[in-house]
Amino acid sequence: MKILLFYSLALLGVVGIAQNKQVLYGMEDIPQNLLLNPGTKLTQKAHYGIPLLSQIHLNVGTSGVSVHDIFGASNATEDINTRIRDKIFEMSSKDFFTATQQLELINFGWLAKNKLYFSGGIYEELDFVFYFPRDLAILVWEGNSDYINYEFDLGEISTTADLMTVYHFGVNKQIGKKLTVGLRAKLYSSMASFKSTNNSGKFVTRLGDNDSPNIYEHSLENVNMSVETSGIASLQDEENSSQVSSEILGRALLGGNLGIGFDVGMTYDITRDITATASILDFGAIFHTKDVETYQARTNYTLDGIELIFPPLANEEGTLPYYSDLEDEVEREVPIDTLYNSYTQMLPMKVNASIAYNFGRPTDGGTDCNCMNMSGSIPKNQSIGLQYYSVFRPKGPQLAGTLFYYRRFASFLAAKATYTVDSYTASNIGLGLVADVGKFNFYIAADNLLAYSNLAKAKSVSLQLGFNIKIDRE
């Protein structure tokens, strides 16, 4: 039990708003920016991601607790059990733990003769979110003795986990001087999916009244809980890990449950110095039809204990099987049904938006007055602006706001610094660096830099890096 608890706490420690790539967003020097805004401005003629290395993304985080909060050595004078208990009560059921990992397998793009920039690729994604079920945590940690008549909310259980491969192809076009738009179509192949949301119900131990048969009434009230799984039941039947791996690989190659979705985005130069962008990502759904198992429990049930009826017995005759009868009653009254119905899973849609003021010296070798481009913006070597990000999660959107400063130091080197306020922290500083060495493009971005001096105190850490071949326009 202690080992289980240790791993759970350790996991909580390492598992950001996941998927917010606030440092990369808007960095036009990086081809992967197309995945964050299909309507970004592009400077290259073509790009090819180095297979498996073009984007490695990891984001883990918690909104309520850090490893240091629990395992900190300097606060060890206080009993660890007191710290855990305090945290359980301090956190709310809206606190969450998330982890997102992406690995790009292939990424490519080219400017066609009709001035359309086509791009496509394949990436693998693992996405996990788990909301903290505060009432259940209290019940497990404290028991029910001090919580007579308290309604433990079982609806706080909310979690999803997805492992999928995404095949995507998109198009980007500059329309006129001011506007660039883009659209990306995505085909999702789900390898495994797990979802338990929209649960409801209460567990309560009430003190019985005059009509109650026993001291208490232990009640499950209006319980309606479900766990939807896809791609998991059949794996339990596989005999060894190599069979599981080959099965998962098959699903990665479009053999899983399929889904479709879209990304749209735009960039608009409001004035010569002010640029706005916006994108909507993963507007789509996965249709789970194969290897689907849904476990569902719906009940209203009250347990009163065991009633002895003292039957008249003769000749060593056994009495009634009260305990077995009770077990049968619980199984009958609290049934867990297994359903095999297909279900549709809406993907966590993300929204990005930004507005930037560009200043400094022009980067295209021109002057402030470019007579060839009277209406569009002039690329400058610095910009400052605001970004907005949201992702739709089971319990509503998770939001983040970012203040950023971008600077191009030289034609081969640019950097971006961000300050983000989100569910985890109000002191998230991020830094991104992109370098173009000849045709070789390298980038790295990380946030929560202040926390790197002690990751144990970090509530979220996000890191992206990758290598591309980029061929700039003449």
């Binding site: 395992f71 660890i80 019985g208 001291i215 002895l308 305990y323 030289a410 660096l433 001096s453 002690n454």
Partner: protein, 181 residues
């Protein structure tokens, strides 16, 4: 553009390697984590009528009635390991004009007695039922004995009875389990 960028890239990577660390933590503290929930659960209940202590067919008193139920969770290996204390609470409501002796005998699956508890229930009247509360606290070596048991025999003994005896004996009970995981 020919530029040697390796120092920049290497510098950035080294920044993460050198500055990122996990410090001021003591994971050995996990050994001190004790989950100590206290759980209240209903146990048994019954309603005995005065007539249950007299057999009209044979016109004889039935001085002792008893019944048995399994409590299979009690000798579960996890319960044996983690249960530190159990506090039984019995609440008798008696409207029969007799005192009663109540016995609780805990048995292993092989019917060996591992733990017993008994109490006297005060007599009441039909117009004035009397409540007798009885608390049995089990801990230490006794809890080891108790968690060897998987069933309990409940016996209720009346000193005397007749066909005219009226009233009822009601029992409600719960157990508070003190668990340490």
């Amino acid at each position: 553009m020919k530029t040697n960028l390796s120092p920049v890239v290497a510098g950035f990577l080294l920044f993460f390697v050198f500055v990122s660390c996990i410090k001021d933590t003591d994971f050995d503290q996990v050994d001190n984590v004790d989950l100590t929930p206290t759980i209240d659960l209903d146990l048994i209940y019954f309603n005995l009528s005065a007539s249950d202590f007299y057999d009209p067919a044979t016109s004889t008193s039935v001085l002792t009635v008893s019944d048995t139920t399994e409590l299979r969770f009690l000798n579960d290996i996890e319960v044996q390991r983690n249960l530190k204390r159990a506090e039984f609470y019995f609440k008798f409501t008696n409207s029969i004009e007799r005192e009663f002796q109540a016995d609780f005998q805990f048995l292993t699956p092989q019917n060996d007695t591992t733990y017993t508890a008994q109490t006297v229930v005060a007599q009441g009247t039909v117009s004035n039922p009397i409540i007798t509360e009885f608390i049995e606290n089990v801990e230490g070596a006794d809890i080891v004995d108790l968690t060897q048991a998987s069933k309990v025999i409940v016996s209720v003994t009346i000193p005397s009875s007749n066909a005219n005896l009226e009233g009822a004996l009601n029992l409600q009970s719960k157990v508070t389990y003190y668990v340490e995981l």
